[in-house]
Symmetry: C2
Subunit: 333 residues, 2 copies
Amino acid sequence: MDKVLLDYGSGGRASHRFVADLFFKYLGNDILARMDDAAVLSLTGPVAMSTDSFVVDPIFFPGGDIGSLAVHGTVNDVAMMGARPLFLTCGFILEEGLPMDDLARIVASMGQAAREAGVRIVAGDTKVVPRGAADKIFINTTGIGEIMVDPAPSGHRAAVGDVVIVSGSMGDHGLAILSTREGLSFEAPVVSDSACLAGIVGKLLAAVPGVHALRDPTRGGLATTLNEIAGQSNVGIELTQADIPIHPAVAGGCAVLGLDPLYLANEGKFLCIVPEDQAQAAQAAITAHPLGAGAKVIGRVVADHPGKVALVTPLGGKRLLGMLEGEQLPRIC
Amino acid sequence: MDKVLLDYGSGGRASHRFVADLFFKYLGNDILARMDDAAVLSLTGPVAMSTDSFVVDPIFFPGGDIGSLAVHGTVNDVAMMGARPLFLTCGFILEEGLPMDDLARIVASMGQAAREAGVRIVAGDTKVVPRGAADKIFINTTGIGEIMVDPAPSGHRAAVGDVVIVSGSMGDHGLAILSTREGLSFEAPVVSDSACLAGIVGKLLAAVPGVHALRDPTRGGLATTLNEIAGQSNVGIELTQADIPIHPAVAGGCAVLGLDPLYLANEGKFLCIVPEDQAQAAQAAITAHPLGAGAKVIGRVVADHPGKVALVTPLGGKRLLGMLEGEQLPRIC
């Protein structure tokens, strides 16, 4: 068959063949292969659990696709709690008529991303809805991992005097999706940064276990994520605009389109908030990893304006950087 | 606002307000309230993990709605591994324009179902897609629970001589959805059996820890589920048709529509396969619970026809009961 049929979601023989041919082939492991109602896992101590549904449009984009993004997105959320991601479940909602080649490419990409991230896909579910009831494919992933540090990093732990570091340039994923969807092209290609952050975060925590907060600035971008942390910890955050790394192509594209890269989603970057005396060690650990080569100290936690984020502009002015108000870009992840 | 807007899925201020007003109100607890990228949970020993996406149409039906169904479905899958369900994540995909009243009713129903099941919703995600890109609302739930018995029940453990028990009448959910969707009415109303099975399964396992297999016959119905177990354990299963409980209204509706209730989904029933010398104790434990009042011994595990399920008809004939072939009813759960 060259297209997804309603039969494939029935739970009957057609679904079983479909699951065996596709999901076991690309995602299989000994736990998934048992095919019971739930996977049996062995976990010890405190664990982190996170869920995300992915509805990105288009499903293929420069730097990734909905499959690898669905793995990276959830693995990264688990990693942000100072945890080593171990297990992932995936739930597919497929539109009748989705080309099988597209689906196979997506599932293969998920399998590769999972192997690279060191996680096993231990349970799954497939629903097929009639044509027009969904747009091509939606994927939910839920991840679980063992927390490596105590206390775990949290948005509630930012403290006055702490330093804010980002692992690289901001806005790449958001602009890559938008420009692909709208058929825009810029002088230099804009590529999503979609990547698994578990490895680099593991290195960081091994060097600096006392990291106060870790967060990946996805939907809403850096500005929204820092506003969340400022609110959770009831502190102010002050950023130096000139220090925030932004690819020239992203800066240029945003200028043309009237977008602010500080509100665009990232899918392979994180920010960390660390005590001042550990900032140098943290930056060294991050920049030593290929995914953190462009890391920068971009600001600090202050006692002023608790709950708010301020940006010091190149001319020395200061303005508040609010949370994203409405929706810049639907279906960005 | 009386309808879901794209802004609510942005990750920005509008999403935060939306999440606070709706999800925290109905689903809130101390873990969810921390609003970090992942929930921090404490688990010990072997755990069971399961995921399901719910795309049922219509979203409200006699006996439940997509919200309570999403809780019951996943909690039940976890319970079928002999586990006590503890934590649930939920991922919402909402269509722009969904009436807020409908969403609030669904989320309130999820909250009530979770409280009744004794599980906490510890992480969530909301995506909003433009009108036409999804049909009203899809919900993924992923659940985790601590396994109470060792070894855990599994479809691989059915053994020749074992007895097959079902906890009540077959096909209610499937026919309730179909008749609501198609606007059919029968003499007696047909109501979904959607319910949380964790309590009754806990009682069963306390009385009979040696249960070999537990399964809730959802998509594909009793026939498909037993075929799966026959295949996993490489045994035959023989059922006595006259002993399989079916509501007269369901039997009548199926006769009119040309459907077989043994292939229709159930959402509040389970089957167990137990050693013969423990069958009486198992049946007593099940029937003592309100959700198991209609439990029956319906067959046994045999050495004949391994991997297949046979049905002994009231006239004494025997026919093979295959797995569901195609799709009887899309969007049944």
